[in-house]
Symmetry: C2
Subunit: 163 residues, 2 copies
DNA sequence: GGCTACCGGTTGACGTGTCAATAATGCTAA
DNA sequence: TTAGCATTATTGACACGTCAACCGGTAGCC
């Protein structure tokens, strides 16, 4: 299972000043990058990244429809978050909800034509923004390194969560 | 493909599938990392990272007090956001606001003793969490690379914002 | 049958963030 | 002098996220 060894690098408890500076740069910059992409998507397409994730999943789904909880686990959201978000999207006519015939108490989420059109209009500018804000900012080596860092961080988060 | 626009790497307009996969890993993992740290700080100290940023800045300020807009630019927030946040922190007794004698229409933000104590209690667990969730997840080389990636992304964001 | 336990989904309360509008005050130029 | 005008801070409306409570239904189990 997990190693019981409490040994840390150099026996330190706390990050060094350098590590702390890098941490702050890293977390602030990545969050600024996220906000920036969010606002690009908003002005380009009047969608949030949440809207985009939902529309993307539904677009790729069989019959452009999915069960609510299936959708939630597909995009990694809590059910409550999805329910709130679907309510807002439904008000804007991007999706529809209906009772699921097969599953008791199940809700089917359907992509409306307005939703499909909004997604279609959003895709190209969104991908272009990803290129401009992320891909163009880094060298090919850095992009690879970014992928490895993400993988390592994710793996570590998963280990800690499992404990 | 014809290049109608300024030349991009390989003349591409859009990210490759690999780049897109790395982008998604990167942005989702870093945001999960942020949320995780947020929730650690919350359970350890009943503070949000916003609270922590404000308390840190005030702790280090002369007289543990700062003008509101000075504070805003110091931690990189919009004034509106800060004003909302200070309202919530004031309700909880972490800070106080008073008219600033020198500057017209200026508001002085003061650290209360309760705020100073809360910050004191929060610091150690927070730094420990940064080590556990970030530093311990990466090799020393990866930490350096993360710093360089953050620097490159930040510089690129600044360039685009200036345009 | 009735009790309980879980499952899928919704709801409400609340903290958080952005945007646009609104004061309140000093500076400047007609 | 006064009519703008910028600066400083606050406010209101709204989107978003989390947490905990709730609700309706199915499934075991006595």
């Amino acid at each position: 299972m997990t190693e019981a060894t409490p040994v840390r690098r150099g026996g330190r408890q706390l990050p060094t000043a350098d590590e702390l500076r890098i941490w702050r740069d890293f977390i602030e910059t990545t969050s600024a990058l996220g906000s920036r992409l969010e606002s690009r998507l908003q002005t380009d397409s009047s969608l949030s990244t949440g809207d985009y994730a939902v529309l993307l999943a539904l677009s790729e789904a069989q019959g452009q429809a999915m069960r609510s909880s299936e959708l939630a686990s597909h995009i990694g959201w809590e059910r409550s978050r999805l329910s709130h978000h679907l309510g807002r999207m439904e008000r804007r006519g991007l999706i529809r909800r209906q009772e699921c015939a097969t599953v008791p108490r199940g809700a089917e989420v359907l992509l409306t034509t307005a939703g499909a059109e909004a997604f279609g209009r959003a895709t190209f500018p969104h991908l272009r923004a990803i290129r401009e804000l992320f891909v163009d900012a880094l060298t090919p080596d850095q992009i690879v390194a970014a992928g490895e860092i993400a993988t390592a961080l994710r793996a570590h988060l998963d280990v800690l969560r499992a404990e």
